[in-house]
């Protein structure tokens, strides 16, 4: 469809296109289905929308939640689930529900509620991307909403203190990661060789856990013990996002390439031009001599 579509979402760091799980889901789906989206990351200007992020703007239509955005894209014929059977479509819904119920509370906790993580990483990062007076208020509000959500959904009796709720939600999250790993097995994506909606959602939830460097990282350590999920995230990042590589081994190899370029085996261009000039000078001399 010819209508240009714009997506406003949070930007990325640590090798990810976005830090926000929902924004990342929408961006991944757009890449999988080939939808031409222009992505505007929220920077420090006043013009960016402050409501629910991510927001898709297409001509006059403004859509705000990831499920609705994906529905809209499907209606515009950008459908990544085209080849799925009915049962696989049902499985998609079920696994997305599993992610939201089991993994999302722990993700919110790691980002927004865990004091060390929040104060040293999340709050400065988000505050740097929000214009001045709001940057003092919005991160705190997002943190309170996350805590509220965790306590209201998971914090009923007999779990009365936050530490017990934490224990429960991290246990659930680790179990969810194990289930996802078993379901993925050795295949490249969840339903064969082409990525679908479920891959977008799983990527959106897992990649922030996997890549962002936090001081308290128990979920990341658990995730790193599941190599097929790590491989899944890395594959999507390199194939569909082609971003800067955050793998230190690759960075070192790139630096080594630079060093090799400066070595004497590859002389810089200036020497070759001088040789040509010398050759040019010699030839008239040669011509002069009989």
């Amino acid at each position: 469809m010819a209508a240009p579509m714009e997506l406003s979402c949070w930007g990325g760091d640590w090798g990810l296109p976005s830090l926000h799980p929902e924004s990342l889901t929408v961006m991944a789906y757009a890449k999988f289905s080939g939808a031409p989206l222009t992505v505007n990351t929220i920077n420090n200007s006043w013009r960016t929308p402050k409501g629910d992020i991510p927001v898709l703007i297409s001509e006059d239509i403004v859509i705000s939640q990831p499920a609705k955005i994906l529905n809209f894209l499907r209606k515009q014929k950008y459908n990544a689930d085209y080849e799925l059977s009915a049962k696989q479509g049902a499985d998609t819904l079920a696994y997305i529900a599993l992610l939201e119920e089991k993994l999302l509370p722990a993700l919110l906790h790691t980002f927004w509620v865990e004091a060390e993580n929040y104060c040293s990483v999340t709050k400065p990062w988000f505050a740097s991307r929000i214009p001045f007076p709001l940057s003092l208020y919005l991160p705190g509000k997002m943190s309170r909403e996350a805590l509220n959500r965790i306590l209201l959904t998971k914090g009923g009796p007999p779990l009365y203190s936050l530490s017990e709720v934490e224990a429960q939600i991290y246990r659930d999250a680790k179990e969810c990661l194990n289930l996802l790993s078993k379901r993925l097995g050795t295949s490249q994506f969840f339903f064969g060789n082409t990525p679908t909606t479920l891959d977008a959602f799983v990527f959106g939830f897992l990649a922030p856990v996997y890549k962002v460097c936090f001081p308290r990282v128990q979920l990341q350590e658990h995730l790193k013990q599941l190599p097929n999920l790590c491989r899944f995230c890395d594959d999507i990042l390199t194939c569909y996002f082609r971003l800067t590589i955050s793998d230190p081994a690759l960075i070192i190899s790139l630096q080594m390439d630079d060093n090799l370029r400066k070595s004497p085996q590859h002389p810089p261009r200036k020497l070759t031009t001088l040789k040509l000039a010398a050759g040019g000078e010699e030839s008239p001399l040669n011509r002069l001599s009989p």
Partner: protein
């Protein structure tokens, strides 16, 4: 799922403040921390489920600003007042109980005690859960197991009825006898605040998830024959039902104004005199609405909620296909859960029929419900009204 928590210790334990050194302790797996780390046992609480005014004491979501988390501060567990009547020698005021094993959970209204490191809380609940499993495994299923729910004719609501029916179906599928007891204050008796709960021997367990684990610890399991991928699928579908169907039922009951006024408020407070019935109903409504707002359902309209129900039913229908059960040959807890919710939706009369129409669109789901009803609930028609009788629910359940 909230962790299991016993209300009882092993009857064989002597009155020693240290952890029971009875047979259950010796069966403890090696991976657990040494026994001395665990606090002394709580006193033996009353086996009769007694009404406790949990509602009034339920603490609001403690909203602490994130910065304060650096000081780990947990509401302590002072020993319960009821246990003072028959306290053992060791259960003095200084002792605390295993974190996850709150039998009579002390409320956050107690004055703050010494700060506890959070890691200990996590280790405690894992150890306490293993302890619970040992307790559960110690005894076989008794004959007098009871399942408590609210009053069937007047008080119980759609979502609670669905959950209760799911547990009844699960226990029927496992061939475990249970009798259904209806009490007006079932919600307050329940350890987690949610119905239904079962009272088996010395223990009280609520909600389908923990009940499944409890029954598994006793040696009965429906999902043993599934491989890992199928178990993952089963858990995912159970979450789908909880996420979409249960939330939609709660939304319809508590956030749709017409239903709230005509059905929910009159039913919820019906056993209590005025003004208590209105106060309790409003309190529950505020709580549910806050939860809906936190998960983002507050902004949805009724049509959107019904569409979500439709999508969920479509997914279940496609997964079921033409098979008799979701995992072909044998029923599992997923079948019990889906049956509980769908049967209740189909047989409950609300202000409009839209919800049940959405389910009736899928023929294989209605056939599934009928099949499970015939297979597992027919024989109990002749029993007294205390047993699960979904047939009686065929009459209009609400009004």
């Amino acid at each position: 799922m909230p962790p299991l928590h016993p209300t009882q210790v092993l009857p064989g334990c002597s009155a020693v403040p240290a952890l029971p050194t009875g047979p259950a302790a010796q069966k403890r797996p090696e991976a657990l921390p040494p026994l001395s780390l665990l606090p002394p046992d709580p006193a033996e609480p009353d086996p009769r489920p007694r009404p406790r005014p949990r509602r009034a004491r339920r603490p609001a979501a403690p909203t602490r600003p994130a910065g304060e988390r650096a000081r780990p501060r947990a509401p302590p567990r002072a020993p319960p007042r009821a246990a003072g009547r028959r306290s053992r020698g060791g259960a003095g005021p200084g002792c605390s109980r295993p974190r996850g094993a709150a039998s009579v959970p002390a409320r956050a209204l107690r004055p703050p005690g010494p700060a506890r490191p959070p890691q200990r809380g996590r280790a405690m609940s894992l150890v306490a859960e293993a302890f619970m499993n040992q307790l559960a495994a110690a005894e076989p299923w008794p004959e007098n197991a009871a399942l408590y729910q609210q009053l069937k004719e007047d008080q119980i609501l759609l979502s609670d009825n669905a959950s209760s029916l799911a547990v009844q179906a699960f226990l029927q599928m496992c061939n475990l006898p249970v009798r259904v007891v209806c009490r007006a204050n079932a919600e307050y008796m329940s350890p987690s605040g949610k119905v239904p709960f079962i009272h088996v021997g010395n223990q009280v367990v609520s909600e389908l998830g923990p009940i499944v684990q409890f029954v598994k610890a006793k040696g009965h399991s429906l999902s043993d024959g599934l491989d890992e991928v199928q178990k993952a699928e089963m858990k995912a579908y159970m979450e789908l039902v909880n996420n979409m169907l249960l939330t939609a039922e709660l939304y319809l009951q508590w956030c749709d104004d017409v239903t709230v006024e005509e059905i929910t408020h009159p039913r919820y407070g019906s056993p209590y005199p005025w003004p208590l019935n209105r106060i309790l109903a409003y309190q529950k409504q505020w709580e549910i609405r806050r939860k809906m707002k936190a998960i983002g359902w507050a902004g949805k309209s009724l049509e959107q909620v019904l569409e979500d129900v439709d999508q969920c039913c479509q997914a279940l229908s496609q997964r079921l296909g033409t098979q008799p059960y979701f995992f072909n040959k044998q029923p599992t807890e997923l079948d019990a859960l889906v049956f509980g919710h769908l049967f209740t939706i189909l047989t409950t009369q609300l202000t409009t029929d839209e919800l049940s129409e959405k389910v009736k669109n899928y023929g294989n789901l209605t056939a599934f419900c009928r099949r499970i009803e015939q297979q597992y609930f027919e024989g109990h028609d002749k029993d007294n009204s205390g047993t699960a009788a979904p047939r009686s629910a065929k009459r209009s359940l609400l009004r």
